[in-house]
Symmetry: C2
Subunit: 190 residues, 2 copies
Amino acid sequence: MNRVSSYDIMNEILERWSPRAFDPKAVPDNDVMAVLEAARFAPSCFNEQPWRFIVGSRDSGNEKWVSNHEKVLSLLNETNRRWAEKAPVLLIILGIKAFEKNGKDNFWHLFDSGTAWGFLSLEAQRRGYVTHGMGGFNKQQTGEVFSLSEELQPIAVIALGRHGQTEELPEDLRERELPGSRKPLEVLIL
Amino acid sequence: MNRVSSYDIMNEILERWSPRAFDPKAVPDNDVMAVLEAARFAPSCFNEQPWRFIVGSRDSGNEKWVSNHEKVLSLLNETNRRWAEKAPVLLIILGIKAFEKNGKDNFWHLFDSGTAWGFLSLEAQRRGYVTHGMGGFNKQQTGEVFSLSEELQPIAVIALGRHGQTEELPEDLRERELPGSRKPLEVLIL
């Protein structure tokens, strides 16, 4: 772990990072549900909860989740697919563009969906899993493959599973297999 | 607490909600820094960390933070100001619209900023504070008051402090002073 903090912060936050090395071992459906449950409790503008999930889980007891895993994998950019194909769970997080309450554009749908993803990632960490969010996938094709209505905005694919071995990654990815650095706090405060 | 979960999830997630009753007691600068530090470790697309913060803290040792508190308060909608004026800390979270790496639009800047806000809210919860995010503020005026460059997108104002007494809220707000309900998980999974 190359992360240090000058402040005592939640372990799950300090220790969470986004590895590419995934162990293909199945994630029980109950754990998948639990991380989605964590996302469910995120706050949102007018409590709209403008996040939705497509669940792909290769070894699930749920047949739809099994077939979704293959579909989600097919939507990833090649750069992501080469490592993410090992991940036993692949989720898509989607935002709802308009407010249910009045049909107007919801400026905060992406922001709120990001909060839900943050909660999901920390509950996964607490349960001993790693997560890796990816923007590199075909958003338009996602709408087609899953017959999504126009109001749904695919945002990111999330790989979920146990952390694997760096040595099993393609060679060029091994050096990058470290927690990312962060800008100094002073830069983030205007 | 009217929240129940069928899954064992992180206490900070289950117990966090967005009260309006704030205790005006000061939040030490060190706690403000710690919740921002939690936000700092959020994941983001290409690790761009496209979130920035304006800190307003009424009783801070930092004079800029003291004067920011008054400015942020003046930017709130009247509906929010009537309860949020008690909150000792008022933060603005802003997103950076374009990628630093290539200047192109960063589709994920709101999403990633939402993740940072989620981490901030949970670290606050862990430290015994409550938070309440607000979309109801004057975004254009925010740019003027703080002389922000065009690339910075004000997203939300966050009230931070200790939980106050419901009885001290304006009468019409007391009934709503409860954790919000959530849609069933089945609705969130497509």
